[in-house]
Amino acid sequence: MTSSIAINQLTKSFQNIRAVNGVSFGINENEFFSLVGPSGCGKTTTLRCVAGLESADSGRISIKGNDVYASAEGTDVPTHKRSIGMVFQNYAVWPHMTVVQNVEYPLRVQGVEGRIRREQVDRMLKMLGMEQLGNRKPSQLSGGQQQRVALGRALIARPDVLLLDEPLSNLDAKLREQMRSELKRIQREIGVPILYVTHDQIEALSMSDRIAVMNNGEIHQIASPAEIYERPKTKFVLDFIGSVNYLPCNIEEATGEHVELKLVDGQRIQIPRPDYVPAGPRALLAVRPEDMTVAVSSSEEGLRMMVALRSFLGNACEYRMRASGFELLVQTDKKLLLSEGEGVRIEVGRGFLLDADAGDRADARVG
């Protein structure tokens, strides 16, 4: 399948700082593609380069097969001539225009006739559930409503790509969840490729068809949400998506199925063989809190540990478990109520192995 949007070796510096460093990816037709990473990782700069709001230093960006930016040929199509729609983090709804005036603006710029314009705006407002609010000024709207106006304005001219810059970060938690499914619905209805930028991994995991995880101007991994979560390629991806426990260990034995490890207190543990097994013998074990199971202390299998602290999370329980020399954060079913001081056995259902010195290296190999 050909990409709707293709970005190739994009580079952009600000005062000697490489904000974007050789970034390449493609977005397929009607795909929801997310750039996710911590603030300052270069995701917003990448998005702004696609929009033409930022001029890249080198690389190539094409939309629907046409170059909008190519450093080799000196192409740089100005923003207003790129067929894009964009929703800004602060919505950027024009305060001096009504809802209708905001939404119809791209059509007015194109010189679309008034009657047709009116029709299309009505249809758009209906889809956004805002038929009644057409004559309101933005100051009379809630944050969620302003966001819909911004979305309507970005979509009304049928752009080749929809660019979303952390559009949900200013909404409260409930509204954010609602808007997430709303966005997916609207995308299905309209059929447009989306480039979505966020620092919120939950947002990225729940909405995206594919995710690119970025750090320090570079993409660490591009994959489906499930794969990003299940099979992270680098320590950074593992860290950024979800939480992780790190335990120093020695690799005792590695077979095709399992790896046997010895922890600092001498306890041995067997985990299913991960994608990457360091040469060893010293290594670092990474385990997600939800990848462990807790059994009563009479069980023969698993690590012997003690409950140090219990936190009730509502939909789950989180325990800080202690053994001599290390601690583990373990998440369990909320029905499993353990008391502090209780002895337990912990089995690791899935873990990742890293080189022993991977502690400070974000790009250390995981998979």
């Binding site: 207003h80 602060n90 950027a92 001096h96 304005r153 001219a157």
Partner: protein, 556 residues
């Protein structure tokens, strides 16, 4: 390609703006600077020696300093007390009180000086009443001289303090006071230990603005000082220019610059401090309102009385004088006449003055709004290198006393190396106003552009609008309130201008302010008052528009 074309159009605009700033501001300023130390083709401090060599001159400097300082103290007391009462107690009709308290800001100080002569002068309304009540031939006070100048300056310049302090009180984070209350402090103690220290930077800031405005003022010391030979720098410069002794006037205006610059420098320091206090939280929590209890009607009455004396009484005196057949006539029904109005408004010279002001003020306001909007755009939005410097230069006249601008205009445009001789024409007034009020436009346009987030314009280009279209549909409409506010402020200030105009006017090229002053000065207070009352409606309408534009935002 696009970048190059944009660069070109921006560079052309920048170049035009740079020429404007150099011609209007830099050139006259450099003239003052150089001519003050340049005599007969060589570097010399003789001009300054002649300032300090004659007691008449150096006494004027000293008078300027101590009169302005004392008047500033009076203004600070009135302004601060009024701000506390209006903002922090439960006095009724707050919006009306606030409006009346800011009103002196709009009325030319010359009017106030004339009004007070007509109230408390030898045959003034109050003086006559006093003489009748106590049956004495003369009153035991004189409105002429330092005391009168200080009094009238104080009651016309307090709005500077009132506006800044009221603003600080309004923006103050209520939790700071609540924290003191929960610590067990009572209302008086909180005021003394928390509130007052927190608004002190605002008080100082307002006081320094008032000081600069006192030093700058010509109308009040001219009306109340000239006839008793009490001189301040501005009136001395006026006198020196009537001789004319241009080198002396130049040296004295440089001294005025130093005084004002010192005050502005202090202001900068205090504004820096104000930033260190985290007073302005931008929250909408209303600070605690003190209940006045049984004292409420008395405090209200007191405040209304003060407003009556400060604002209403002098205007009332002007009205009375304007309808009297001769100054000091007994107040009877038969003595009401429209003869002053007839005389003034049938005088072709006065009509010409009105016409000049009615043309120059709006033209200056329009030119400046366009120029400063462009400059602010280049500086804030286009981030054009160099625009920042032009902006800084444009702000300089904000700190320059009007007399300096007047002297600079004479030096620059009497016999310029290139271009027309503007001195002796009406255009020199226009150029002077452009110099004097550029800062007003810059402040307003810059502030309104800073409020427009970049993404609002970016949303225009992602919607398919090119740069010009984005400017037209988004930036300019969003800037419009700031531009209108700047226009009205500049129009009003230029319309009321006297300090500069009185130095650079020439026959056939007078302004309203100049005419009112000349009539008052040459012994026609009735006609001067009639002209003043005649243009008052224009000033009040402009002031109402300004208030309406800023809604209840308390700011200058």
């Amino acid at each position: 390609m696009r970048a190059v074309r944009n660069l070109d159009s921006r560079s052309i605009i920048f170049l035009l703006l740079a020429i404007f700033v150099v011609v209007v501001i830099v050139y006259p300023l450099v003239q003052v600077l150089i001519r003050s130390v340049w005599l007969d083709g060589r570097l010399s401090l003789e001009n300054y020696e002649s300032v300090f060599g004659r007691s008449r001159n150096y006494r004027a400097i000293w008078n300027s300093i101590w009169v302005s300082l004392t008047a500033t103290m009076l203004a600070t007391i009135i302004g601060t007390l009024a701000a506390f009462v209006v903002q922090r107690t439960d006095v009724p009709m707050k919006n009306m009180l606030r409006f009346l308290l800011i009103l002196p800001f709009a009325i030319p100080p010359l009017f106030a000086a004339m009004g007070w002569v007509q109230l408390a002068g030898p045959v003034g309304l109050l003086s006559n009443a006093y003489k009748a009540i106590f049956d004495v031939p003369v009153v035991p006070w004189s409105i002429y001289g330092s005391a009168g100048i200080i009094f009238v300056l104080g009651i016309t310049k307090y709005p500077f303090v009132f506006i800044t302090v009221a603003g600080a009180l309004q923006r103050m984070d209520a939790s700071l006071e609540e924290a003191a209350r929960t610590s067990g402090a009572g209302t008086i103690r909180i005021m003394r230990n928390i509130t007052l220290p927190l608004v002190r930077p605002a008080i100082t800031g307002g006081a320094l603005l008032a000081f600069v405005s006192c030093i700058d003022n010509f109308g009040i010391p001219a009306v109340l000082g000239l006839r008793v030979q009490f001189h301040v720098l501005t009136t001395r410069i006026y006198e020196a220019l009537t001789i004319p002794d241009l080198p002396l006037a130049t040296a004295m205006s440089m001294l005025l610059v130093i005084l004002a610059a010192g005050a502005i420098w202090l202001l900068g320091k205090f504004e820096g401090q104000a930033g260190e206090h985290a007073v302005i939280a931008g929250k909408s929590i209303r600070p605690h309102i003190i209940s006045l209890g049984s004292a409420r009607p008395w405090v209200t009455l007191c405040l209304l009385l003060v407003i009556g004396v400060i604002v209403v009484l002098p205007l009332f005196a002007l009205v009375v004088t304007s309808v009297q057949p001769y100054y000091g006539a007994p107040l009877t029904a038969e003595n009401i006449t429209g003869s002053n109005y007839d005389a003034v408004f049938s005088m072709s010279a006065a009509r010409r003055g009105i016409r000049n002001s009615m043309i120059i003020a709006p033209v200056a306001a329009s030119i400046l709004v366009v120029v400063t909007a462009l400059l602010a755009y280049l500086n804030v939005k286009a981030r054009y290198r160099g625009a920042k410097i032009l902006d800084a230069i444009g702000m300089v006249p904000f700190a320059l006393p009007g007399s300096v601008i007047g002297v600079g205009m004479i030096l620059a445009w009497s016999n310029p190396p290139i271009g027309p001789t503007l001195y002796g024409t009406v255009w020199i007034l226009l150029v002077a106003y452009l110099m004097r009020y550029m800062a007003y436009g810059l402040r307003s346009c810059r502030a309104s552009l800073l409020q427009i987030h970049d993404s609002l314009e970016e949303a225009g280009s992602t919607s398919g609008a090119n740069r010009l279209r984005t400017l037209r549909d988004i930036t300019v409409p969003l800037m419009r309130p700031g531009m209108i506010a700047a226009w009205v402020l500049i129009f009003m200030s230029a319309f009321n201008e006297l300090t500069v105009s009185v130095l650079i006017w020439s026959a056939r090229n007078e302004t309203i302010g100049v005419w009112i002053f000349l009539m008052q000065d040459s012994g026609f207070p009735g006609r001067a008052s009639a002209l003043a009352i005649g243009i008052l409606p224009i000033i009040l309408v402009m002031f109402l528009i300004m208030q309406w534009l800023s809604q209840d935002n308390v700011s200058i």
